[in-house]
Symmetry: C2
Subunit: 369 residues, 2 copies
């Protein structure tokens, strides 16, 4: 019987995620499966929690990987906090802000939004003005907007909310592992991420972290969390405490992969990892400029790990991406929504962010264009 | 920096799941990650769908693995179908029937239950009587109750519902891959499973299948599915059709594992796989009898893949399980709920169901007891 897996070719993943995965992480996932209640596996779980806390600069006890991809992390944060009619403000400047709005609305929240042009950042002044009008249970923003390549001013928004009762919820799917995140210093109460971006682990897990006051808000709910699978009040009992109560069977081998991915980041050092992302981003921007390709986003709010570039005139979007994939074994990403057909998204996430990859892509683009 | 992964010992997993994973499945998971929109990866996805359809004996187009563990499969089935006040009947004879009740109740369904003693099956007569009183949107039952080792009469319940408007929803987490399931012949409309039982893939995916009339029911909803991550109306557009619309990033390497696990079953042949489960079950039952250990469940409704046994007098539950794990590298499962401390659950699921494992366990039990 034909086995397609024998025909997989290695692709350099330079799109918006998944990113390239180090061989040691792939091998970690091939380690024999342990039971989800095995005492040795519980040691691995505890170590994953500690590593996530370390890299997020948080003392939040509830810092765990949820058993789903990054969007399950988004769902987890909102479904545990929202009860019908809760006022929520979502700051939108791309696809993932829109997704937050959709998720929160489906859960019955009274959602207000502030929208900003795609490719530009959320402005603190606009948020300040909105907060002067009305108070919210949650203010939500995307740190690194994967659809545009824009960095939003998370520390400044956190500063605005300090001293209020509002919970500050941040999407760190694309930023975590590639840019500094100081969860506690920045006043972030609730955060989610994904494994397949700068953590360079395959997709399948969503690290989340809840501050003590966010946990208190979950515990103070009048109604049960309307999602059994993602109910943190039960999941906590599996990830914390002396008796680890079975909730659902944890994705054991995916967790091995995350453990190893975090190991690599800690061994290289968080500062070095962030610097490597920045260095390769600058190398890419320079190289693209030489090819006559311009960046979508202004320099002061560009993400290092997600580079949105204008598709050059005379270049056919799909044809170029397809040629890169087929002839050069390099994947880059298409634009989404209003930017479809107008931009490419070049990822330099985690293990992908290396000079040899930047140079290969630049050479390939030169050939293809 | 210490790496716990280097200290993982291989354990023979003879509990209620996860089960032992073949090396080829582990290696499949270590294959280089492809992008979730890569045309070659989409071929793999299509093949997974076909293989699931084949093994479930269904023509349901919507037959896909959901990006979460088995319980995410349960959540998916209920959250896509239930709107506030929908009448649902849940048949309960163990933990997983109770979980269905909890999931459906949180989603606002009007849930009725029929309860049966743990360790005994659901009786068709009781269901017939209940259905004569009231009609339901959904009747839900667990095929193989992992908490007790009981097989429920799914084909007979399906027969009762034929010709009605009621959707028949079946939990096949533990049965799929170890017992025959004829989804279409048995009149099952909605089914979910997990990868970590008889499919012998690590935990992390939940195959689900919806009949055309179940899909029609989802599409006829008055309100949006209150769970963005598991909304099948959107997920379909990624798994079907010419344009594969991005929804969430699929867990690529987990899907490689599932592909390979299904490959192994198809290569061995479904009939042989089911027979192997049965043969090893009988071998285990005989061996246990010789040790003076009795089965909880009557022979006519015993599951081959999950064997609940009375803990012998004078044996200390936790001490025995711990000695098996530490000294013999064999994991068996504890009892849950009212059966905690009273039974052990011995799994013979998928790759675990081999005579050498049965014999090793019997020898180890003899030593430990």
């Amino acid at each position: 019987m034909k086995n397609l897996l024998n025909h997989i070719e290695e692709i350099t993943l330079m799109g918006p995620g998944p990113s390239c995965v180090d061989t040691s992480v792939l091998n970690a996932m091939a380690t024999p499966t342990l039971g989800h209640l095995d005492p040795f596996f519980i040691q691995i779980m505890d170590s994953i929690k500690e590593r996530l806390q370390l890299l997020l600069h948080t003392e939040n006890k509830l810092t765990i990987p949820v058993s789903g991809t990054g969007s399950a992390g988004m769902e987890t944060c909102f479904v545990n906090l929202i009860e019908k009619g809760d006022p929520v403000l979502v700051l939108i400047n791309g696809v993932f802000g829109m997704r937050m709005q959709d998720v929160a609305t489906r859960l019955g929240a009274a959602v207000d939004t502030l929208e900003f042009e795609w490719g530009t950042p959320v402005t603190v002044a606009a948020v300040r003005e909105k907060l002067a009008e009305k108070s919210y249970k949650i203010v939500a923003v995307v740190h690194a907007e994967t659809s545009t390549g824009v960095k939003n001013p998370v520390p400044d928004i956190g500063q605005l909310l300090k001293g209020s009762n509002t919970l500050f919820l941040v999407d760190a799917v694309t930023s975590f592992g590639g840019m500094e995140i100081r969860m506690d210093d920045w006043g972030i109460d609730v955060l989610y991420s994904g494994t397949q971006k700068c953590l360079s682990c395959p997709p399948g897990l969503a690290p989340v972290s809840f501050s003590d006051r966010a946990v208190a808000a979950v515990k103070a709910r009048k109604t049960k969390v309307p999602n059994w699978y993602l109910d943190l009040t039960m999941i906590i009992n599996y990830w914390e405490g002396a008796t680890r109560a079975y909730h659902h069977t944890a994705p054991v081998n995916m967790l091995y992969g995350l453990y190893q991915a975090l190991q690599l980041i800690l061994e290289e050092g968080e500062t070095s990892v962030c610097q490597r992302h920045l260095d390769n981003h600058l190398r890419l921007v320079d190289g693209l400029k030489a090819l006559g390709i311009d960046m979508l986003v202004a320099p002061d709010c560009r993400l290092p790990m997600l580079n949105s570039v204008h598709i050059p005139e005379n270049a056919e979007d799909a044809k170029v991406r397809s040629a890169l994939l087929r002839e050069h074994k390099i994947e880059i990403g298409a634009g989404l929504g209003p930017l479809a057909g107008k931009i490419w998204r070049i990822g330099l996430m985690g293990h992908t962010a290396r000079p040899e990859n930047v140079d290969r892509l630049l050479a390939a683009l030169k050939t293809v264009l």
